[in-house]
């Protein structure tokens, strides 16, 4: 079924978060104001990216990264026109121009830059195509999305949206079951992570770390988006409402009998 919508309602970081959590394979197609972006994933990891008519060929990426010079680049374009990026990569490695690590690292940097560009798009229609797989003729990478998501979340500036995402700073945080490894956090983000505990409200964490409300909201938003933490009721918060108002009787067996009666009645409808 459809995974489509508008960037006004779903930010790129939220989409990346969803793709990450659902371990999706396919391509996110975003029709922006003047360009179209194709971001491909395998099992929730970034595999390939292209925006507009940008030449994302391996030769162009290596040239931009100064791994090959202008003459080498021109020679490749002239002579290796029919060659796939995978074939070209192998050729360059065997010829000793670059290492496999150089290629993967530079492609990762290039794709991350494209996603950074995508973070600036606030208008656009997106759809996720399960059937469009990363292109076979291009070299695919396998990048975890958490760091990209946190980086994108840092760019969220609108207080109103942050307040929608985190309505109250009196809630606490707890870690999700996802392991906290290989995550690049800023000093302020680490300060918040250090105090993640259902005993501490976000307001207390902000006060302890001398962070403003908007700063702590932005940091927590990033951690939430990356799926590292989730909101929790503070451990010492009083129960908001007495359960005795729920049932007309206090007897546990009568309460169960009442629920069973309701179940029986609804089944008959």
């Amino acid at each position: 079924m459809a995974l489509r919508g508008n960037l006004r309602d779903f930010t790129i970081t939220q989409l990346l978060n969803l793709i990450n959590l659902a371990s999706k394979t396919g391509t996110l197609v975003v029709d922006g104001a003047s360009e179209q972006a194709y971001i491909s994933f395998r099992e929730g990891k970034l595999a390939y990216a292209r925006i507009g008519k940008d030449d994302g060929s391996l030769a162009a990426v290596l040239y931009k990264a100064s791994k090959i010079n202008a003459n080498q680049y021109r020679a490749i374009v002239d002579r290796a026109g029919q060659m796939t990026d995978k074939e070209l990569g192998l050729l360059l490695i065997n010829a000793g121009y670059v290492t496999q690590e150089d290629i993967l690292l530079n492609l990762q940097v290039y794709f991350t830059d494209l996603i950074r560009k995508l973070f600036t798009w606030v208008e656009g229609i997106f759809r996720f195509e399960n059937d469009i797989l990363p292109p076979d003729d291009r070299i695919n990478v396998r990048m975890d999305l958490e760091n990209i998501i946190i980086e994108g979340s840092r760019q969220l500036r609108e207080l109103e949206q942050l307040q929608d995402e985190i309505p109250s700073l009196d809630m606490a945080l707890k870690f999700t079951e996802r392991p906290l490894t290989n995550i690049n956090l800023s000093v302020d983000e680490w300060k918040v992570v250090k105090f993640v505990d259902p005993k501490n409200t976000m307001r207390q964490i902000a006060k302890t770390n001398k962070l403003t409300e908007i700063e702590v909201r932005r940091i927590v938003y990033g951690l939430l988006q990356a799926g590292l933490v989730e909101l929790a009721r503070p451990a010492n918060a009083p129960a908001p409402m007495s359960a005795k108002t729920t049932f007309p009787t206090q007897d546990k067996e009568e309460q169960k009998s009442l629920i069973n009666k309701l179940i029986g009645r609804i089944r008959q409808l």
Partner: protein, 179 residues
Amino acid sequence: MQTVKMVVTGPFSAGKTQFIQSVSEIDVVATERKISSDEERTVKSSTTVAMDFGRITVDEDLVLYLFGTPGQKRFDFMWEILSEGMLGFIVMVDSTRPETFREARSILETFRAYAPTPYVVAANKQDKEDAWDLEDMGHALRLDKNTKLLPCVATDRASVKTILLELLYSILQEMESGK
């Protein structure tokens, strides 16, 4: 006569009134008003401003009331009043309108703060071609893996029954686990 209640909540135009209408034995007492905002008028022409009210009589001693909350945020002062003493609540979400998911999440958090009662999330309009997949909705709504996210078609009585039953099973389960 004993009465118990459940609350049906969710964003504007999620299908709450229709949900209650599908199972209520009385015509739903709906307090609807013409929409004043142009943006909202494009979605539907009238909306609930105070509450919807439906009834299911169990026997001569027991009645279940279903209360539907107004979806628009400017009427959220009603939510706390309606949530008092509820057995549990249902959060309705229109699966075809991802622009409402953020609000649905916020409503869910608000109701969880009002009362620690069981709840289920009903993904309405799952019969529509442009409905979001349940798994994607679960992630977008940031539901934890224990939360029941159920497919729903609010106009279909069988579908609504399933949602109500799942909520009742959750209530029973929680009672039996002694929470």
